[in-house]
């Protein structure tokens, strides 16, 4: 067929390019049909894999592998633990409910697998061992096709010289045939000058195979453990970026793995720090670190752990193993303080070796090695800086960092990453996050900017192990009252829709009921989240509870949080979305969410993360312990409104992690009367008038300077796609905020923007304190 197409093209040279494409398409489709006819006869949704051959001892094997790359894992199998560790290394988790997990093999996930040291043959053998059926030919082919080129080439920084390393001389020769790369090559004196000679060294064999190798028979292990020789050539440090670019899949397709041989790095001074003895990494933290330091070198990549599972200990441990200067990037000043604190808590670092660099505190460390904690904004900031910070930035630029530690990598836009990475020279990059989802699909950029995902923990396993709190998630359905719904439906109120469904009196009563219940019956500490500032203020005022939002001064925040932590009288605090990420409130164990940032899955997961940190005694939390649930996450939703849509969408990430949401329809209980607010129609109408009279700006979303995921962008994109069911009116609600923001930027942003006290000028700081 292909030959036929070729002939057709040569005989009719005037044929347009478009038609050529069509020829190719036909070829492809027919080839495809021959391979797996049974599968795409019907619509792709009904995949039939019944022709796969079951192995006789299938009952002992834990997983199903399907020809389309999907893998299902039975979590009740005795081999679950080993199989999970293996699968998480080679495949992307799609959905992980309690008894059955779904994974997907993708080129990215295989790239990650290769980069943690798994080889194509190992992947296929182990997968075959674990699978109940014979591995489908398509899957084997796919693994071969995706991994044949990955992991063959490594970029190693040794004694400040960059080497391209590979066990296969042919691959290096292929690379050198490329102009850019051959020009970048440096011939060192001890090498022979011939172009074929590469520096040969004995490679370190993988040490982390552990779990996977147990699964292989003896003969296989022998093959894996065989010592390898590696060949390498040196390249010009100035050309590294270009060489890397040439190796990406769209050019030569030999993506480079970056490794840092920190033990043999004699040029950069050692930093004398160690983990304190009381810092005992938990098994999963240990495992994630072993993926990073598998062969005695440090790999760049991302580690995904749920909030509250101890990401900072992983970061600090990594820094302690590398023992070189470390640059730690966080999202804001509060988390900078927290990171600095974590470093001092877990490691033996001296106070003069660690410094914070924010707009408020510009510390500089003495000595030749140390840890600098700063924010992404401080490093990537393009405008004019003060002389002092210019000096520090210059220092950061000129230094060669052993480890670049990046917190919350999912929130930082790609362009800022590029900037940060181009400014700082680091041997090894480690990204940490809890939620590797973004509403714009730019999460895959991280694969190339930082590195592959090294490890991802299973939330439910951590819950079972008692490492994170066992959370009962619930969605509380609050019907709209007649009057509020009537206004909600009016066209002229389209801008106030959100305010109307958030201020729904039934919701208010449900919220009040829940606060009372948890404060009085269980003695819990409660956080109430509201993105909508108008609602936040109304609720907090009416219920007489403290609140924190963007404009709350640092002093007041600290005071409120202190009271919340220590005073028995302050058990509830209202937070706007400033509380999503970085405010650390380990005391809280109940979250009530009354309004949220549209359909952001990330926000939902981050908010849940506020209460995930385990509390109480360890044995009580284990499965079957005293308290089945020790944390509660309520989402209050007004039924029959847009909120229902957003709410379902927001839950998807947590559902994929195996959480289930219980739906509660009878809150507050029907017999509750005037003890809760807004019992009478008059009160409700009063509230309605208040909502309707508030200006459109007042009822909108709070606009923080850093808007975590650019959800507004996505909105437009999503409309074109699968969300055709969405009405135009919803888009308009969004546009409204958008233009509002633009206007603000136009005339006098300074005036309307709430002053952030941390950004206040030095001179005024004393006065307002």
């Amino acid at each position: 067929m292909a030959g036929h197409g070729e002939r057709g093209r040569s005989s009719k040279k005037l044929k347009t390019v478009k038609e050529d494409y069509r020829d190719d398409d036909i070829d492809y489709v027919e080839d495809f049909d021959e391979d797996d006819r049974g599968e795409d006869e019907s619509e792709p949704k009904k995949r039939d894999f019944s022709k796969l051959e079951l192995k006789p001892d299938h009952a002992n094997r834990p997983l199903w592998a399907c020809a389309d790359g999907r893998i299902f894992l039975e979590t009740f199998s005795p081999l679950y633990k080993q199989a999970y560790d293996f699968l998480i290394a080679i495949a992307e988790p799609v959905c992980r409910p309690e008894s059955m997990h779904e994974y997907n093999l993708t080129p990215h996930s295989l790239y990650a697998a290769v980069s943690v040291g798994l080889e194509t043959e190992t992947i296929i053998t182990v997968l075959n061992k674990l699978s109940k059926t014979k591995l489908p030919k398509e899957m084997i082919d796919f693994i071969y096709a995706s991994t044949s080129n990955y992991g063959k080439v490594k970029l190693v920084l040794k004694k400040n010289r960059y080497f391209v390393e590979s066990p296969f001389t042919e691959v290096l020769k292929t690379l050198l045939r490329d102009d850019v790369i051959s020009k970048a090559r440096i011939f060192s004196s001890e090498d022979a000058q011939g172009s074929d000679a590469f520096t040969v060294s004995k490679g370190l064999s993988e040490m982390d195979g552990g779990g996977h190798q147990e699964l292989l028979s003896g003969a296989d292990v022998a093959a894996v453990a065989e010592e390898k020789e590696t060949h390498s050539f040196e390249i010009d440090p100035a050309q590294v970026e270009n060489v890397k670019q040439r190796c990406l899949p769209n050019a030569l397709n030999y993506p480079m793995l970056e490794e840092y041989d920190f033990r043999n790095d004699t040029v950069n001074p050692d930093l004398n720090m160690e983990l304190k003895p009381q810092a005992q990494p938990r098994p999963y933290q240990e495992k994630s670190l072993s993926k990073m330091f598998g062969n005695g070198r440090a790999r760049s990549g991302i580690i995904v752990l749920p909030c509250g599972a101890g990401k900072s200990l992983v970061g600090v441990s990594a820094a302690c193993r590398i023992r070189k200067s470390c640059l730690c990037l966080a999202t804001n000043a509060v988390s900078v303080d927290q990171w600095a604190f974590q470093f001092k808590l877990w490691s033996t670092i001296r106070d003069d070796q660690i410094c914070r660099f924010t707009s408020d505190s510009k510390e500089r460390f003495r000595g030749n090695a140390g840890v600098v904690v700063t924010t992404y904004n401080m490093v990537a900031f393009g405008g004019k800086r003060s002389e002092e910070s210019e000096k520090i930035i210059e220092e950061i630029r000129n230094r060669e960092w052993g480890l670049l530690l990046m917190d919350e990598v999912h929130v930082v836009p790609a362009h800022m990453f590029r900037k940060v990475i181009s400014i700082t020279k680091s041997h090894c990059k480690l990204g940490l996050t809890a939620t590797l989802v973004r509403e714009d699909e730019r999460i895959t950029d991280l694969n190339f900017l930082i590195g592959p995902k090294l490890y991802e923990a299973n939330w439910l396993d951590l819950v079972k192990g008692g490492f994170i709190a066992n959370v009962q998630c619930a969605e509380v359905w609050c019907p709209m009252t007649k009057e509020f719904f009537a206004e909600y439906l009016k066209k002229e109120n389209s801008k106030k829709k959100q305010a109307l469904y958030v201020m729904n009196p039934n919701k208010f009563r449900a919220c009040e009921f829940l606060i009372r219940f948890h404060e009085q019956q269980r003695g819990d500490k409660i956080i109430v989240f509201a993105d909508n500032l108008f609602a936040l203020t109304e609720y907090a005022m009416k219920l007489k509870k403290p609140m924190i939002y963007g404009a709350t001064s640092h002093n007041e925040r600290t005071r409120i949080l202190y009271a919340f932590k220590h005073s028995p009288d302050v058990n509830t605090v209202f937070l706007s979305k400033v509380g999503d990420n970085s405010i650390d409130i380990p005391e809280a164990n109940v979250i009530i969410q009354i309004s949220s940032h549209a359909g952001s899955r990330r926000q939902e997961a981050q908010r849940l993360g506020r209460i995930l940190r385990a509390k109480g005694r360890h044995q009580d939390r284990m499965a079957g312990g005293k308290e089945e649930y020790n944390a509660f996450f309520y989402s209050l939703v007004s039924t029959d409104t847009q909120e229902m849509y957003y709410s379902t969408k927001r839950q998807q990430f947590l559902i994929d992690q195996g959480y289930s949401f219980k739906i509660i329809t009878s809150l507050p209980p029907p017999d509750s009367g005037p003890e809760l607010s807004y019992h009478t129609l008059d009160e409700q109408l009063g509230l309605l008038t208040k909502v309707l009279n508030a200006g459109d700006d007042a009822v909108g979303l709070e606009q923080l300077e850093e808007d975590a995921d650019d959800i507004t962008l996505l909105k437009a994109r999503r409309f074109a796609g699968s969300m055709s069911a969405m009405s135009g009116a919803k888009g308009m609600v969004y546009m409204e905020y958008n233009t509002g923001r633009g206007k603000q930027a136009g005339h006098g942003q300074v005036k309307s923007k709430p002053k952030d006290p941390s950004k206040r000028h030095q001179l005024f700081k004393k006065r307002y304190g």
């Binding site: 719904f485 439906l489 009016k490 957003y646 709410s647 969408k649 969405m726």
Partner: protein, 98 residues
């Protein structure tokens, strides 16, 4: 859907004589109209009311608002209301993209 019920009250006959508009009421003056009795929850009733209000006067279909969950409407609108409501509900339902 159980909230739509056909309600015919045409069978009650109060009329005597026939033809040519010369009707004569015997006992009491009663207006009989064929229509549809709708029973639903509060928000849906509001939805139908607001839909009704958005139409030009000649097309409005609500004959009587009985209370906040019951109403009496013209007989031919059942399908229209059904499709309107399902459209509205679709907008508020998130389906996971495949």
């Amino acid at each position: 859907m159980s909230w739509l019920k056909n309600f015919e009250n045409e069978s009650i006959s109060f009329w005597e004589g026939s033809g040519n508009g010369k009707r004569q009421a015997l006992y009491i003056m009663v207006n009989a109209t064929k229509g549809l009795f709708i029973s639903c929850d509060v928000p849906m009733a509001q939805f139908i009311v607001s839909y009704n209000a958005s139409l030009p006067a000649s097309q409005r279909f609500i004959l009587h608002m009985l209370d906040s969950t019951h109403m009496f409407v013209q007989p031919h609108v059942a399908e229209m209301i059904r499709s309107r409501i399902s459209e509205f509900r679709d907008q508020n339902t998130y389906e996971k993209p495949a």
